[in-house]
């Protein structure tokens, strides 16, 4: 059966993506961790800390973007672990000695993470709505939310793949989650950055999570966005290109060593 290289790349990516989604269904504890934990966090912030935080509006409306970003952090740490396992456990070696298209091996992990994270995001939205989240987004806003979230998810997934390739073991790879999950806390995700000490404010206002969260928040509840959307696209577009390139180089370097 002669078919084009593109056909097989898509075919193989599809198979690897389905595998990745099966993994999620087989280990419900990871799904629970990646969605359950951010939801718990949301409840904690809304009902325990929320009363003390002034954001000028309903606090639940304020924190939903931050919860989503945190949720993605958990999800992608699973990806980093899974890539490290495949790389060090011999599965990638076997697949690379087969006709399977090499691009599909990492591509499947990224696409799988993307689908899983979208699902997680949807669950967070539903839980938020259940406890009083009322977005004012129009259809066009929702499309924008989908687009910017997709860019973010793909960028983080590729970054997770890079971590997985670099890490010598799944345990090291899981440390990735710490880094990704920590960033939203030092951004405008849960509290306005103006309330932080000036040195921290400078970091919080200029790290990639803040423009992303401001853009999402603006689209969801109509707060001003300004040029934050541009910054978000620059940050995560750049991260996507860089991570995908580095991942590809790292993966192909295996042929030399």
């Amino acid at each position: 059966m002669r078919r084009s290289a593109l056909y097989w790349t898509l075919h193989d990516s599809g198979m690897m993506t389905i595998r990745s989604i099966r993994h999620m269904l087989r280990s419900p504890e990871s799904l629970l961790l990646s969605v359950g934990l951010p939801v718990m966090l949301m409840l904690l912030f809304v009902y325990v800390f929320g009363g003390a935080i002034q954001t000028g509006g309903e606090y639940i409306n304020y924190i939903v973007p931050g919860v989503i970003v945190t949720c993605v952090g958990y999800g992608s740490s699973m990806t980093a672990m899974s890539v490290a396992l495949d790389m060090n456990g011999g599965l990638f070696d076997r697949l690379r000695s087969m006709p399977a298209r090499p691009a599909a091996l990492l591509g499947g992990h990224v696409l799988g993470t993307y689908v899983k994270s979208l699902l997680g995001t949807l669950l967070v939205f539903l839980c938020a709505i259940a406890i009083g989240f009322r977005p004012s987004a129009t259809l066009l806003d929702w499309l924008g939310i989908f687009a910017i979230l997709s860019l973010f998810l793909l960028a983080i997934s590729w970054l997770a793949v890079v971590f997985g390739l670099v890490a010598g073991s799944a345990e090291t790879a899981s440390a990735f989650s710490f880094f990704i999950m920590f960033l939203p806390y030092v951004s405008s995700a849960f509290v306005p950055t103006e309330t932080m000490p000036s040195w921290l404010h400078a970091f919080a206002a200029h790290q990639p999570m803040t423009p992303l969260i401001e853009t999402l928040r603006g689209l969801l509840i109509g707060t001003p966005i300004g040029n934050q959307a541009v910054w978000a696209v620059v940050w995560f577009g750049g991260m996507l290109l860089l991570s995908a390139t580095v991942a590809s180089i790292l993966f192909h370097r295996r042929r030399k060593v």
Binding site: M1, W8, H11, D12, M15, M16, R19, R22, H23, R26, S27, G89, G90, L91, D93, R94, L95, R96, S97, M98, P99, A100, A104, R254, R255, K256, V257
Partner: protein, 314 residues
């Protein structure tokens, strides 16, 4: 004339300043079981990784079924299968799902994958476990699934990197039987092993790899012939008898002065006269053993040697 199943010429590979393979050459005929024998770090896995297109050699050429592993890696990948040192199976999928995933990635059509998966699950006695997640499998079952996966695409050449390392004796015996079965079906098998007995039991041809060089190559019989013929081992009751016998026969004492071994490869005359001489001097050995050299002796003789010259006995 058809190309040999595997042809390797002048392969070299170094990492940083460490030479891993230093001018390795050999050939494997179609349908042969070839064993690459060597200790840890001898370069066995590196050889397998080069032949299975995973890494590139610094120098030299290697071809599988006439296809160059670097220039025609896509074609090589169609006809080989690799089973590494650790079972490369997906722990979170079931046995059947593993086979279906790998079949798809081998670009086999759906009917073929289904048919082969059923056949292989039956062949390896995994039908009952087919629907269970691999995490729950025993080590032996994982290894079987691993081999089943490597047979999915009906490969012409199978690479098995230390297939029995870490297996219990029973699983090892059944792995040997599986390998022999494959060879009977005309598949060429390249296996690496640290176990001399394994190479002796299975291989049609053995190459001994030490410090990145092939130090000997041939059949098990040929290798054994290298380090000498059969010997007669005599054990004595006491060291006085032993010493007297050694002097009479002009042989060095072995062990703790209670043992002698004399060459038994030639005619019966030399043996008879030796035994007669002992009889005349009233020396009666406690036990007499006839001993054939094992591959262990070959290995010691070849790799313990400082002289690393290549010997070819094929």
């Amino acid at each position: 004339m058809r190309a040999p199943a595997i042809q390797v010429r002048g392969l070299k590979k170094s990492y940083a300043h460490k030479v891993v393979l230093d001018d390795v050459s050999f050939e494997v005929e179609r349908g042969q079981i070839f064993a690459l024998l060597g200790e840890n770090g001898a370069g066995k896995t590196t050889t397998v990784r080069i032949l299975s297109t995973l890494i590139q050699a610094d120098r030299g050429t290697a071809s599988i079924d006439g296809c160059d592993v670097t220039l025609e890696s896509d074609r090589v990948r169609q006809i080989i299968s690799l089973t590494g040192q650790y079972a490369a199976v997906d722990e979170l999928l079931t046995g059947k799902e593993n086979l279906h995933l790998m079949g798809g990635l081998l670009h086999l059509d759906r009917q073929t994958v289904r048919r082969r998966a059923t056949e292989l699950l039956t062949l390896f006695d995994l039908t009952d476990a087919a629907g269970k997640i691999v995490k729950t499998y025993s080590g032996g079952m994982r290894r079987k699934l691993d081999i089943a996966i490597s047979l999915l695409g009906s490969p012409k050449v199978i690479f098995l990197d230390e297939p029995t390392t870490g297996l219990d004796p029973r699983s090892r015996a059944s792995m040997w039987e599986m390998i022999r079965q494959l060879a009977r079906e005309g598949v060429t098998i390249f296996l690496t092993t640290q176990y001399l007995e394994e190479a002796d039991q299975l291989a049609d041809k053995i190459a001994v790899l030490a410090e990145g060089r092939i130090v000997a190559e041939g059949t098990a019989e040929q290798l054994k012939a290298v380090i000498g013929e059969e010997r007669l081992e005599l054990h004595f009751h006491n060291s006085a008898d032993g010493r007297r016998a050694a002097t009479l026969l002009h042989l060095p004492m072995e062990g703790d002065g209670l043992q002698l071994s004399l060459p038994a490869g030639g005619t019966t005359d030399s043996l008879r006269s030796a035994l007669n001489m002992l009889h005349e001097h009233d020396i009666v050995p406690a036990t007499v053993n006839y001993r054939k050299p094992t591959l262990d002796d070959v290995f010691m003789a070849l790799t313990g040697n400082t002289e690393k010259e290549v010997r070819h006995y094929a």
